[in-house]
């Protein structure tokens, strides 16, 4: 583990998060959620983010995923500081460099499995038929490709979501409680598949989860507590 940390300092990390702060307005005033978060993640490395419900895991993931704005601090992905980018450029980063797997799968219900799988790749102009085929195969979705999401089980849907996220060969894969809606056995299977594919693509992998068991399967893990990271 220390070797790894050493290594990240030497070469430029894929993701660097520095002093990230975020608060939300409520009728009772602003409530801080993140109070200065710092960490780095190399290409091919994986990091689990654990913490209590409401500890700010999702918020951190959203900021890293260029889905939301931080109050202060910096997210640098592949050498690009996201906070400095326009809305348009951030949308482009999302299309091309980031894959996201949501707890709710968030598939497009009116598209078939095959269409969902290739959708983001098409959107980002990074469609690669061979890779698409391989993905479909490795995720065991070949049989299901003409179905609609509502005709799939939860595990199948999450597999599609993972495939969609990786179809663009992202630099960074984000997963927010990816197995939260799945039973344990299915969740484990999906997790294995995801880790295999992450290893195959060599992207950085950041996952938020409240499950210590799941977190243990990643290379590193950090715990978010009261808005700051506590290394474990």
């Amino acid at each position: 583990m220390p070797e790894n940390l050493e290594a990240t300092r030497e070469s430029a990390p894929m993701l660097r998060v520095e002093g990230l702060r975020k608060s939300y307005p409520t009728p009772q005033g602003r409530i801080p959620v993140l109070r200065g978060v710092d960490f780095t993640l190399d290409a091919g490395a994986s990091l689990a983010l654990t913490g209590e419900s409401g500890s700010g895991k999702s918020t951190l993931l959203h900021l890293v995923g260029a889905l939301d704005d931080a109050d202060s601090g910096e997210v640098i992905l592949d050498g690009v500081a996201l906070t400095l980018l326009s809305e348009h450029a951030r949308a482009a980063i999302r299309r091309e460099k980031i894959g996201v797997v949501f707890q709710q799968f968030n598939l497009i219900p009116s598209l078939t499995v095959a269409e969902n799988l290739s959708f983001q790749a098409h959107l980002g102009g990074r469609y690669d038929a061979a890779w698409q085929k391989e993905l479909t195969h490795r995720l065991g979705l070949a049989e299901l490709s003409a179905r609609y999401p509502e005709e799939l089980s939860g595990g199948q849907q999450q597999r599609v979501a993972i495939g969609r996220a990786l179809a663009v060969r992202p630099k960074l894969l984000l997963a927010d409680e990816p197995t939260g809606n799945l039973d344990e056995a299915t969740g484990d299977k999906v997790m294995s598949l995801a880790l295999d594919l992450v290893a195959a693509t060599g992207c950085a992998f950041l996952m938020a989860t409240h499950s210590e068991r799941l977190a243990a399967r990643l290379q590193r893990r950090v715990r978010l507590d009261s808005g700051v990271l506590a290394a474990q």
Partner: protein, 822 residues
């Protein structure tokens, strides 16, 4: 571009899964466009026919010379102008009757006719010329006119006055409803030797007012071609009327579109969020949605334009007959597709679709890529929504008041009506919410409380459909009340006005004298009353002057709106004159005012001693003493008479006259015939209005159906918990039905006063501006009851399918709500 394409593909894939939703959306847009473009097609057709009528002779765009006093003028004026170097071409127009059909005779002079005139320019010009100059002559009519007259080429029908037409020939360039003949032939056919009705100016720049005055004195006046057409001026209000109803129907159609698009938006909201999360920028998302709307516009708008064509074709005969009987305007009954109204239909469809989808687009633009759960938002949003509705309602009400206070004419009348309807529609959800809140407070049983509370939540979803229903119902009550009130007033007025038993028109004044002396000797004939006519022009308005003789027929029956105490003495013994309501209004004069009436020789200063209603007459009318008419107007017709006949002798007298005088009587009708004719004219006038009104109601029914269908999807989410807690599906479905019917009933209740207000606006503002007469305001409670029942039925049938779906929903469907909840 790539991003937009794939986004669009994802958006459109939705319709694949929801063809019903797509159908509603397309249908709504298509119906709205169809009604709008149908009305546009009718108007365009009519305008084209008016233009064709003028342009066939003048070639359009030019100016013409008309008699200053209106009516005809001597041919010598034409010669005088030509000899002074003014290039003009003479035209004589007039009406004739062939069998039962009225035709418009147009006499032209082919040698001087402008080169660009379509008749002169037709490929058969040489034939036209040759035929005109041949001794037999030639009469040209458009093919559809020949069909209407049921005559073949070469036929030589006789007019009711017994004049034989030259052999007919088809000429596409001839204006619809008209027969074009040589000027000399027209003078003979119309019995107007040496008379002309206008001069077309050939060389446009050569004549100004001064030069005209130097040559022709003030006998002629120069009129620009566009406002020359008295026809288009007279019919303007008719067309505005049509346009207003078309627009109303369009608005109601838009409610459907809005409801359907709203549904689609709600259903696609998660997809939109996912798309944002996957890296679609907000503006690109909106671009894709706009593109989608454009595609829909083309498809649905295109279908709508085609539908509009069908509607126009169906309504055209009625419109044509109304225009003909009301204004004597001839409309071609074969509808030609025109790119202009097709395009206007598409533009309206696009504008309507964008308008209907605007809120969705704005939401999409602001849509954050993250879904933030806001469970508490509903109540606050509902209150905001109601507050906004109320504010908008007040704004619309202010606009209505402004239109009433500052506007003028038909347009302002419709603006008042439009804004009032809008205000009421906007206020409707507020009122319903109030009633439901009250119900919630008063309800004891939990299911009843839920019924009211849940109803409030449903309002915003249903409100648009309810608003559409309200508007349609109000329009039905309003227009129905106006038409029925008019019908009753009109029939009463006809009874009072048509007292004489027989009306006839002699072929010539000499014939009239023969008939007159015969009539005096008939024991059956109690009185023979000359009703001679002359034409003049007061200000800009053509006015008919009609003579009256002192007789009980008038003094005891002639309906007057206002009269001086000595009205009949003043009329027959002094310089008194009766003016029609329309004329009084146009001239802005009333009882006691003096009027300078141009006569054949000079102006005659008369005093207005009475105002009489003259429904259905687009022209102004003056009634004066018969002796004065003879004295002042040397061109008085001298052929129109009424006969008072002993009871039951009418048929005998008519037969005797026909047998004895034959062709000397140009027209002979008894009272019942003329009443039937007038009533028919009346019915035709409102046939189109009624048809559009019914269509509007049907559309609003569809809107309600679409909205309920929309809601039924979301319903499950609301109903499932109640179901889970122990209510039966049947119970819940029943409650849902009751709620929809109650909403419709609420709309109908609000529609009644609104409809009454609309009747009042139509009667007091629109009719006065459009036709010049004001009807008494009447109320017809049975109509309201009918409309109320219609509303309930519409609601019942619209709710039937969604409610049945709910009643039969499988438990698993309802359970999904819990497993799938987001």
């Amino acid at each position: 571009m790539r991003e937009t394409f794939w986004t669009l593909a994802a958006l459109i894939s939705h319709w694949r899964r929801r063809p019903g939703n797509l159908a509603t959306l397309v249908l709504g847009l298509a119906i709205a466009t169809a009604l709008w473009s149908g009305v546009q097609a009718l108007n365009a057709q009519a305008r084209k026919s008016y233009d064709a009528a003028t342009a066939a002779i003048s070639g359009g765009g030019g100016r013409t010379l008309l008699a200053s006093r209106g009516g005809l003028f001597d041919q010598d004026l034409f010669v005088k102008l030509r000899r002074a170097g003014v290039e003009v071409s003479p035209v004589l127009e007039g009406a004739a009757q062939i069998g039962e059909q009225h035709i418009h005779i147009i006499g032209v002079e082919p040698v001087s006719l402008p080169r660009h005139s379509p008749i002169a320019h037709s490929r058969r010009r040489a034939e036209v010329l040759e035929d005109f100059f041949s001794d037999r002559g030639r009469a040209f009519a458009a093919p559809q006119t020949l069909r209407r007259l049921d005559l073949a080429e070469g036929a030589q029908p006789r007019t009711a006055r017994g004049r034989q037409l030259p052999p007919l020939a088809a000429l596409a360039e001839a204006p619809p409803g008209a027969v074009v003949v040589d000027i000399g032939v027209a003078q003979r056919l119309l019995d107007r030797p040496g008379k002309l009705s206008r001069l077309v100016i050939v060389d446009d720049e050569a004549l100004d007012e001064d030069r005209l005055k130097r040559v022709a004195g003030d006998a002629l006046r120069l009129v620009a071609s566009n406002d020359e057409s008295e026809l288009s001026r007279l019919t303007d209000s008719f067309h505005l009327n049509l346009t207003a109803f078309g627009f109303l129907a369009f608005l109601v159609g838009l409610f459907i579109v809005h409801a359907a698009y709203g549904l689609a938006f709600e259903q696609r909201l998660p997809t939109l969020r996912t798309l944002r999360a996957l890296g679609v920028a907000g503006p690109n998302l909106v671009a894709a949605m706009t593109l989608e709307i454009a595609v829909l516009t083309c498809v649905a708008g295109g279908a709508g334009v085609i539908g509009g064509y069908a509607i126009a074709q169906t309504l055209l005969p009625d419109v044509a007959k109304s225009l003909e009987s009301l204004y004597g305007a001839q409309i071609s009954e074969s509808l030609a597709p025109d790119a202009r109204w097709g395009l206007s239909g598409l533009v309206m469809a696009g504008a309507g679709a964008v308008l209907a989808a605007a809120s969705g687009l704005i939401k999409a633009l602001r849509l954050p890529p993250l879904s933030v759960a806001r469970p508490i938002a509903w109540r606050a949003a509902h209150h905001r929504y109601l507050r906004r509705q109320a504010a908008l309602a007040v704004l619309a009400l202010v606009a209505a008041a402004c239109a009433y206070r500052f506007g003028e004419g038909v347009a302002s009348g419709f603006a008042v009506i439009g804004f009032s309807l809008l205000a009421a529609a906007l206020f409707l959800p507020v009122a319903l919410a109030g009633v439901l809140a009250l119900g919630e407070r008063l309800a004891r049983r939990p299911l009843a409380r839920w019924f009211f509370a849940d109803g409030r939540q449903e309002i915003s979803g249903l409100s648009l459909a309810l608003m559409a229903l309200l508007i349609a119902l109000a329009a039905n009550i309003g227009v129905g009340g106006m038409v029925e009130g008019f019908r009753q007033t009109f029939l009463r007025w006809l009874d009072a006005r048509l007292v004489a038993e027989i009306y006839f028109e002699a072929a010539t004044p000499a014939d009239a004298r023969d008939i007159e002396s015969w009539a005096r000797a008939q024991p059956d004939i109690v009185a023979i009353l000359p009703v001679w006519r002359a034409r003049t022009r007061i200000g800009e308005w053509p006015v008919d002057v009609v003579g009256m003789t002192p007789h009980e027929t008038y003094t005891a029956h002639f309906p007057l709106i206002e009269a001086a105490p000595d009205v009949w003495i003043a009329l027959f013994a002094q310089d008194g004159v009766l003016v029609s309501e329309q004329l009084a209004r146009r001239l802005g004069v009333g009882l006691g005012a003096t009027l300078d009436i141009p006569t054949s020789t000079q102006d005659w200063r008369a005093r207005i001693v009475g105002v009489f209603p003259d429904y259905g007459n687009p022209k102004g009318q003056l009634r004066i003493d018969h002796e004065k008419l003879k004295r002042y107007f040397d061109d008085a017709s001298g052929v129109h008479y009424s006969l008072r006949v002993a009871s039951k002798a009418t048929t005998r007298v008519v037969e005797n006259m026909q047998r004895r005088f034959g062709g000397k009587v140009a027209r002979l009708v008894d009272q019942s015939e003329i009443k039937a004719l007038s009533t028919e004219i009346f019915e035709r006038t409102f046939a189109v209005t009624t048809a559009l009104n019914t269509l509007t109601l049907i559309v609003s029914g569809v809107a309600l159906f679409a909205s309920l269908l929309t809601l039924s999807d979301m319903q499950q989410a609301r109903i499932a918990p109640v179901w889970a807690l122990g209510a039966t599906r049947r119970e819940l479905a029943g409650l849902e039905m009751i709620r929809v019917i109650a909403f419709a009933a609420g709309a109908a209740v609000l529609a009644t006063p609104l409809g009454l207000f609309m009747t009042w606006s139509l009667v007091a503002i629109v009719n006065v501006a459009a036709f010049g007469w004001r009807l008494p305001f009447q109320m017809f409670p049975t109509q309201w009851l009918v409309v109320f029942l219609i509303a309930l039925c519409a609601a019942f049938f619209a709710a039937l399918v969604p409610v049945a779906r709910l009643a039969r929903a499988a438990p698993t469907e309802l359970l999904k709500v819990f497993s799938n909840e987001r």
